[in-house]
């Protein structure tokens, strides 16, 4: 399993804007490079990232070959209720990773 790093505040006030940071381990091979013998290095990238907050999708991103290795994606949301963030990365060659983080809203 590829490691991921998630940074979600453990606690937040209701209605507070919080920042979520995610870092996923991935080589993000563009598919545009060639080996020294001229063969194309096949594309191997993450194509989609989603974040669900208690089941409801709050953020989605499509990724393309221009994105650097180990994509670092951060975004903001409003803390509405206590619960769980579920993250999912999907990519080439059957790449599929999930992670989650809990938050307490007071």
């Amino acid at each position: 399993m590829a490691p991921a790093l998630i940074n979600v505040p453990r606690k937040a006030k209701r209605g507070e804007i919080i920042e979520i940071k995610t870092l996923m381990s991935h080589i993000m091979e563009t598919g545009y490079r060639h080996t020294s013998t001229g063969e194309v290095v096949p594309r191997d990238i993450i194509t989609s990232f989603t974040c669900r907050y208690n089941g409801a999708e709050i953020f989605r991103a499509d990724l393309f070959p221009a994105i650097a290795a180990n994509p670092f994606i951060t975004f903001f949301t409003v803390a509405t209720e206590s619960g769980k963030f579920d993250f999912e990365w999907i990519g080439d060659k059957g790449f599929s990773e999930t992670a989650s983080a809990a938050i307490t809203v007071e």
Partner: protein, 259 residues
């Protein structure tokens, strides 16, 4: 201006530019960190934004997983790395009595694999070796570098220093020409820096990966258009040893982030 005046002015100019030649005084030493933009510094300081931490996590998993014919994990002998590996990277490279020469952290891990785990050595710059090295070195983060205490290392440090100052390659440059004499200037858009090896293995944005000090040294040697030494070559270890003794007292930053 008379010819004599021109010569005097020229001599004075040469004298002025070579004032800062030679070694950097301890009070003027600066980590590569201080040459970076605030954005890259923030990336290094935040463990959830520092991509080097991905290797550290991998390394922790490898530390606890069994390998080789002996069926032993690193943890079976060394227990919790947080205690047993604390300060280790700050002393490396160290003198190995059996080999009669200094070994760096990567070589020590492979020696441990060969002698105690009966496993095949990991290749330089492989994910596994980088991860294990990063995990071990991270246990010494913020600790001052202590390399070079062992008197047996002295001749090897001297060799490393000789290599550091030796001009070589088609550009006829030595490491010291940039990193001792011109560290406050820029090479194209990039800061030259003082070349202190405080954060290896480190995540280099240009590499889009974690890499060892030997990778960095080979890159620099290629840059001056000289023939780089092979990974694990004694010359590279001696250079590593000299650089670590040169950075003595500076805190370990592993895993650092560099542009």
């Amino acid at each position: 201006m008379s010819p004599a005046t021109v010569i005097v002015v020229a001599v004075l100019l040469i004298a002025a530019t070579s004032v800062r030649g030679g070694e950097i005084p301890p009070s003027e030493r600066r980590s590569g960190f201080s040459f970076m933009t605030p954005e890259t510094q923030a990336m290094q300081n935040d463990d959830t934004a520092n991509p080097g931490m991905l290797w550290v996590l991998d390394g922790e998993a490898l530390w606890n997983s069994k390998a080789g014919a002996a069926g032993k994990a690193c943890a079976d002998c060394h227990d919790d790395a947080r205690a047993s590996m604390k300060g280790v990277a700050a002393r490396y490279p160290v003198f190995d009595k059996a080999l009669g020469r200094p070994v760096d952290l990567e070589q020590r891990i492979n020696l441990c694999r060969a002698n105690h785990q009966e496993a095949t050595p990991l290749t330089y710059e492989s994910r596994e070796l980088s991860a294990l090295t990063a995990f071990v070195a991270q246990q010494s983060r913020d600790m001052p570098i202590m390399t070079g205490d062992d008197p047996q290392l002295a001749p090897f440090i001297a060799k490393g220093r000789a290599l550091f100052t030796q001009r070589q390659g088609q550009l006829n440059l030595g490491c010291a020409n940039c990193h001792d004499d011109n560290w406050d200037k820029r090479l194209a858009g990039s800061a030259i820096t003082q070349g202190h090896s405080t954060g290896y293995p480190l995540y280099r944005l240009e590499w889009q990966s974690l890499g060892s000090l030997q990778r960095r040294l080979r890159g620099c040697i290629t840059g001056i258009r000289a023939q780089p030494y092979d990974y694990g070559a004694p010359e590279l270890v001696e250079l590593e040893l000299y650089l670590m003794s040169r950075a003595r007292g500076m805190p370990i930053e592993t895993p650092a982030v560099r542009p």
